[in-house]
């Protein structure tokens, strides 16, 4: 083990994987097209300028904004922002990620998220989300689902479960409630 291993704890990275019965192109669209991203999980519009250095940002839809306001949280225009670091459609997307909904979380260092789509050749794909969360324990808690009972959503696992449901059945768990 080297000194750099000691300064970078291994446990801050979160890795999620879901198998989805859909084509890589359909999954790519569900991740990067705002008309898709608004339909599952937290329900924001994700906007990507899909080239290295391009901007990535998420704006809330009306339901998201109203839900937050009901809990006394007035949302900014942009709730997540980042920069595209690498883009290889429909296989790999790497961006930086900073959540702006809460001042304490916005003050944490910028994190990095990688989406990978692997065609398993049997009509399904593995979608793997790797979120490197060094120095961002509050964001890590939200994305790990620890604040779900407080209305902060169930994090990446919840979003991916919902995404699978949307792509395979045409409707979401969140939408059914």
């Amino acid at each position: 083990m080297t000194a750099s291993d000691l300064t970078a704890p291994l446990t801050t990275t979160q890795v999620y994987r879901v198998y989805i019965r859909a084509t890589p192109d359909a999954i790519w669209a569900a991740l990067t097209d705002p008309e898709w991203t608004v339909r599952y999980g937290y329900g924001g519009y994700a906007h990507y300028d899909l080239r290295p250095g391009g901007r990535y940002y998420v704006t809330p839809d009306e339901a998201f904004r109203a839900g937050a306001e009901a809990r006394g949280n007035i949302l900014p225009e942009v709730i997540i922002e980042g920069e595209v670091l690498a883009c290889d459609p429909p296989r790999r997307l790497v961006t930086t990620f900073r959540m702006l909904m809460d001042p304490e979380i916005a003050a944490e260092p910028v994190t990095r998220i990688t989406h990978e789509i692997d065609d398993r050749g049997n009509g399904t794909c593995a979608l793997t989300v790797t979120h490197e969360l060094e120095g961002a324990p509050k964001l890590a808690m939200i994305l790990g689902g620890a604040w779900e009972d407080g209305g902060a959503g169930g994090g990446h696992a919840w979003v991916l479960s919902d995404l699978k449901s949307l792509l395979e059945t045409g409707s979401t768990m969140a939408g059914a409630q």
Binding site: V18, T130, H156, A157, S161, D162
Partner: protein, 106 residues
């Protein structure tokens, strides 16, 4: 065997549930670290990790020469959303109906 069957099969074994508990406490461990926690041969731990990986309950990531193991909560979330929510919601709505009926009568 479909993906759901693999998850239930993987969870049916106490050693594999123990491995998931260890990863829940401290994610991103190497095989050597996990082996230390179990009174079992390296080969035995590898076999269990393989079943967990095939069910996607564990994912791995290379870091330098090391292979790190991560707990993947998504398959458990899927079981939750597919099964648990459905049945608990019915209980909740049945209680809500009962409350409504009782209050109507008073």
């Amino acid at each position: 065997m479909d993906d759901g069957d693999r998850v239930f099969k993987a969870l049916a074994d106490p050693t594999r549930r123990h491995l998931l508990d260890r990863l829940f406490e401290h994610d991103g461990r190497t095989l050597t670290e996990l082996e230390r926690e179990l009174a079992m041969s390296r080969f035995g731990v590898m076999k269990h990790l393989k079943v967990l990986e095939e069910a996607a309950l564990v994912t791995t990531r290379k870091q330098g020469r090391e292979k790190l193991h991560f707990l993947n909560p998504v398959p458990i979330r899927l079981i939750h959303d597919r099964w648990i929510d459905k049945f608990t919601e019915r209980h909740v709505s049945a209680l809500a109906d009962l409350k409504h009926e009782l209050e109507k009568g008073s």
